[in-house]
Symmetry: C2
Subunit: 225 residues, 2 copies
Amino acid sequence: MASATNAVAIDRETVERIVRQVALEYLGRDKRGSAPVLTVQASSRHMHVCRADMDVLFGPGTDLTFDRPLFQEGNFASKETVTIVGPRSRLISNLRILGPMRKQSQVELAFTDAIMLGYSDLPVRLSGDIKGTPGAVIIGPKGVVELKEGVIRAAIHAHMNPAEAAYFGVKQGDMMKLRVGGPSGVTFNNVHVRIDPKSRLNVHMDTDEANACGLHLTKDVEIFK
Amino acid sequence: MASATNAVAIDRETVERIVRQVALEYLGRDKRGSAPVLTVQASSRHMHVCRADMDVLFGPGTDLTFDRPLFQEGNFASKETVTIVGPRSRLISNLRILGPMRKQSQVELAFTDAIMLGYSDLPVRLSGDIKGTPGAVIIGPKGVVELKEGVIRAAIHAHMNPAEAAYFGVKQGDMMKLRVGGPSGVTFNNVHVRIDPKSRLNVHMDTDEANACGLHLTKDVEIFK
């Protein structure tokens, strides 16, 4: 019965997940710490800016102005915004800059934004991995920067610290799945794991993903290997 | 071992699907017809219009002008467009009307559109099921209609004919799952089954759903119970 063996093998992931859950209930989850609380957040389109581009866009030596904190410690939405002009000469204004400054400027768009601007096949990348991605013209109050590359659709990802990664049994670069319930229930099958000691467990998705699954309609979220 | 029994029960759907696939390979899929070809299409925001509203918007006795056929026989995109004004007094122009005319007017928006217009919690409904949904002001070249209800986010759904439904072992109103592969791989867990003798198998999703899963990036799609 090769077919039956095959069926069991294919389904191993799901079985492992269920067994893990049930086992944790019976064997005392408390001994390894309680389950981390999962938050899922939608990131609107935004930009990260480097020192050199900040100088041009907002003036030499200027700094980003703190507006509100983001979930991950040290990250914040700034008061500064720019305008992005894409390949179809259409633009989006009020593109928010997130701080702190980075080594490379980068723009993260949802596909809905990208298609409107004329990026027909924007690469799906993890933040920072911008080699070979398209560029854009960025207009600030004090000047204009032509980015040679750096426009991406951010891949859906889960931030977590090493203890949380150990809880789920995952390592840096692994993929997990995120199930979102509700009337527009969706499972995201390629959630990238990003581990950092300063992180707290949360999933970042973009507005297309949040709107596809109706994230605002449900609190039923679950992440698993 | 109540836990083990429970685990098997939870997973029954997946097991059934795998067994069905394997069984079909071994027992001769040809005898019940080959697998229907699945197409998945993204519907942009659009409107369906009733006779009375057509009279007001475009003039008494006017008809929709055929522009291009849609996948399902008899349905078409018309040349006519309107402007919709939502509760925040923002508007979207060039909202395409799809024909033929229907008994009730209805507007189908993606959540991205809805949130921009000010519908903070637009109901997710099957087409035609508009009782208790919000309304809108619709502006046409010859007049203005105030819809009392009819603005929805269309629930993702699969059209199919009775033979295709029999192939999948589903009936009217059942839910199926649609897996889309590629870098932004997603499984839509609540795909409504709509059976009609004139239909051909295809899944309709909206632009948020298509952009979330990067539908334009992959041909790897699979529908299952």
